[in-house]
Symmetry: D2
Subunit: 359 residues, 4 copies
């Protein structure tokens, strides 16, 4: 169950402190130019250790393509990518070997499997998201050919909301902030939490521009439902909103319905999705991240033997996971849309007869 997608299928593997993490991306159509430098640049955006706002761990995160690309192009066969782990300080984790960190998956993995790789969270570490970002970069290359762009940024940190959304600004911001005004206060909140050995939460707005109408497979592979799955499946995500989201529930129908005009939709409360299918408008989704569970304050927990314990965590951790979550949100939306674009190829007989008449 480590696979995401139906036709573009991402399977990831690897533990935080094992030999490597990586993925197999199956279903990429043949003939796509695979820009390795772009894939690496996406990983570089996610890479920690670039500012005081994220963890001090140094992970070079060099991606290596093992298969599926020949003379610069996809061949239609599985693209395997691997990132070997290098900066693992397993000793940092000796003290968590026999206890369950609150807010982490330690307890649930232990209960489910009866065994756990305790080093750095093992499989449940956010480090696994590097594999998603590598695959998401390939999905972005594919979407680019179809005229679709995916981008994301921070809309809220520690309750400080963005008043406007400038996606170009987010690309240059160390915080990936959408609002240059709110950014200062958001940054201060992150640093204050870090100083206090604590952490803060935040929210990421992800959007896709240029999506044609018709993507999404009703009724149980709806575009909005799968985006919700994709986003809620990111480490630390606790809520997902499509379009105006929960705010829609406080509107009247006459306010919330987007009028349809010959020039397009008169508003976009729906977030570009109706009945689980894209309507051609901009798609946007908000994902809410809890504060990093790894904090350096004393906490109450249990040992693996079931004894009560009070302890302080050591190591290096992001004070706000939402910041680097921005790149992961982009990757997951890109993978979802690329999968849906492929799935949609058989929705009408006229498309089949056209493609097959030319084979």
């Amino acid at each position: 169950m480590n696979t995401f997608g139906r036709k573009l299928r991402l399977t990831t593997f690897g533990e935080s402190h094992g030999k490597a993490i990586g993925c197999v991306l199956d279903g990429v159509p043949a003939g796509l130019a695979i820009d390795e430098a772009f894939i690496q640049s996406e990983l570089d955006r996610r890479r920690p250790g670039q500012s005081a706002l994220t963890t001090g761990r140094k992970e070079p995160d060099r991606v290596e393509i093992l298969s599926g690309v020949f003379e610069g192009k996809s061949t239609g066969t599985p693209i395997a990518m691997v990132i070997f782990n290098t900066d693992q300080k397993s000793r940092d984790y000796e003290n968590v070997k026999k206890l369950f960190r609150p807010g982490h998956a330690d307890y649930t993995y232990w209960t489910k499997y009866g065994i756990r790789d305790y080093r750095g969270g093992g499989r449940s570490s956010a480090r696994e998201t590097a594999a998603r970002v590598a695959a998401g970069a390939v999905a972005k290359l594919m979407l680019r050919e179809l005229g679709i762009t995916v981008e994301a940024g921070i809309v809220e940190i520690d309750g400080i909301e963005a008043k406007r959304c400038d996606f170009e600004h987010a690309k240059k911001s160390p915080l990936n902030a959408l609002d240059p005004e709110a950014e200062k206060a958001q940054e201060a909140a992150v640093l204050a939490a870090k100083e206090a050995h604590d952490s803060v939460g935040g929210a990421v707005l992800t959007r896709a521009v240029g999506v044609p109408a018709g993507l999404g497979e009703p009724l149980y592979y709806k575009l909005d439902a799968i985006l919700a799955e994709a986003m809620m499946g990111i480490n630390a995500a606790k809520a997902v909103e499509v379009g105006v989201g929960a705010a829609a529930a406080r509107m009247k129908g006459s306010e919330n319905n987007d009028p349809i005009t010959p020039e397009g939709f008169g508003s976009n409360n729906s977030g570009g999705i109706l009945g689980g299918i894209s309507n051609g408008d901009e798609i946007y989704v908000t994902t809410w991240f809890k504060p990093t569970p790894s904090i350096f304050k004393e906490q109450q927990s249990l040992t693996t033997e079931g004894e009560s314990i009070r302890y302080k965590l050591k190591g290096r951790h992001d004070p706000c996971v939402a910041i680097r979550g921005v790149i992961v949100c982009e990757a997951m939306m890109a993978l979802t849309l690329a999968d849906m674009a492929l799935l949609n190829m058989g929705s009408r007989m006229e498309h089949l007869t056209k493609v097959y008449s030319e084979l």
Copy 2:
């Protein structure tokens, strides 16, 4: 793509005004007592026309089991259930034949498929959820054997929040309201919207009690991610929160982390899920529904020929879809948990060796 679940697999079919709607539920373990009266009673809870709060359509929604049950027990083969449509007033829909209703899937189905059954929304009608409720009832019977209970109720309508959650009250309330105090204002809001030919939104809280730790398949079939998919896939859902949800993003890590004690978790901000796996605590999810898009005020739209049109909808519609959404939320959580319980059966070698040593 009309199938939900991996091991307990629900496939639904049918259009609002076709001959029938129904489902095939595959993967129900053999030997489960199938209480047909209970299945019917769940459908009766969802059935419209029971008060002024929901649509005036009369749909008896008699479920008929076609297969998979022998002498009152499941046989391990697919359980097919069908509900024949009876109260279809197709004439009501003649006036929407050539136009796209705002907020509905009319435009997107048309664009995707180039053809649409315009009568009552066809496949995209909320009527399809009756099939989910029938299947959800079977999932509930299965969960009951494992000591798991799923229940839901209204936590908010038109911005009026429940202050407390009494699931027993919700079972008797025509509004499925959790808070007897808030119920009156919520009811008034619904009736006022109906009077004004408009509609209101709302939110449903769904919980599961008695879920053992260990359910959920990391990393791409996480319990929270699939619950998000399940809930966001319900008609009119626009946001899903697990545990405290978006509110977690406004807490510090030290506030949000649930302490672990020998007696259990000291709080339950996580909603009973850590790292995508159940932790043994109560699971709770909030689903936000937009106001019913079917309103009787004049709206701006397009015809299928692309011409601008102003029109008023006719017919019978729920002024607040969240109310009947309560039963659907229960069904989707029950189906998700039953699927996860089955999937979890192979998570440890010791369980396999035990079961196989006894075969």
Copy 3:
């Protein structure tokens, strides 16, 4: 696990002596003309009771379409079809209630599930194949639009081989025989076995003409592998050969390799499939059926209580299941090819960019 296919997905349900059998066919592209009379005519070809060569049971097998078709065309939503059971003589099965019929699934269903619908084989009855034939008919309609024809016939019964293959003859033959010469001896063998209260086996040759090169998804959804699964999954099938099949293993490489010329392949030992992908040549597969396990001679078996028993079966049964198996083989090949045609739609970026540039 009652679903076949990945993009065109057939889910069947129903027991031999339950209320109904049926299927949900999901993934049919929108805009396909659904010729109901053709679907019924395919069922009529499979229907028993038409000659002394098959069972005397009268099953009208009236198919009813419940969903997915609007004004004569597929809408892209699931097509549910149901056949209500009418001529069930459940009394015939009282004597097998407490015993396991040799060669049947009685023992294995009992062991697996601890419960079984013993009437007429229940779920494991060949009656279920009527649902496959109905779905296969829709697949044939779809393939017809792509210029692909699927047909089958008897190549061997009781060791009597066809010397030539006349698919037009098979369509008129009560035996579905490919060779008018061999037919007489084959027919005599069937009737002799029936007279002796015994049964005979046979083999079916199924072919597809007009299949474009490129269908089949390497490496684990190969066209030949899935055809093998499809055919071996038919009741009583025990062997499947692609192209010349086992005979290839007795050739030298220089004999078996099909030369490639500008006019096409110089021979077709491969059966039109190389590396799991269609090569544009005729696809042909041979499926071997064991003799009907239901015979009227005395046999040794066990009761459900584990006691040794000698008994004689009653009821009405085909003396040779291969005869009606012909229609099922056609259905399974049609479903496989239609699924593969849909899956292939995303194999090249150039097809995507073309289709999406026109949306």
Copy 4:
């Protein structure tokens, strides 16, 4: 579509002359002792260059486990294994760059994808089966815990049949031959073909001992159907027989039906499978392999530009692929049975209630 299995899921990647081949095996239950030396020993059995009977290529085939194993045990997370390619003589393939080798997938990959990695067959190379063998070894470790053994050997080469089946002998034989008597003639046939720059075909008998009754998911994930898929999906396989296979079609029902006695089945024509479900008897399957398509005689073919060409292949190739196919057949049967064992865990409510009551 490069994934095999439903609950134990094998995804492979890699090209013959790319950087590496490998696999991700997802769904291995936690707590299984992973014997790396055993996995390597299985690869060593498949490795070429060990005698004059197989290709002279030297492929050390060192497997490296990248994830999913901690302190010698499976953790329940995906097990990624990689084999870096070392002895690639890509120059050998310059002469096939612009032509389609008869009997190979060159033409079909080209037609399907419009691009192909021509070096050594690329993705369609039998080299990929090393990944299956590595995964199959893990499946064997898992089956061993359940008391199930899988083994295989050569039953026929170039028409020379084994008269008896000695699986212990096969383990020591360079030919993997089951019959020490027939072995000499079989070996001579292989060497004669090699001498003549030609190749021969053969057949492999694969069996599983100790399989409990109840494995196999009717109706579309039957044990025999999936074994057929698994075996037919191996490079060069052209026919699959379950039990006595095609020979059953030449028996009478009274001969073919296996009597059921209190001591077990009186015969095993069925190959241990009834109605798609294991019956507790020995499972056996015969897989027929065509002669290696890579021969050194002059052949007729086409260039990628569509011109007729006569050419002779260079390089190093197995004169009989069935020999090394033995190990691959074992791997595929082991993977299939392990998957089925996991899937079966939810077939009865009583197993669920038992396991969950103990959690």
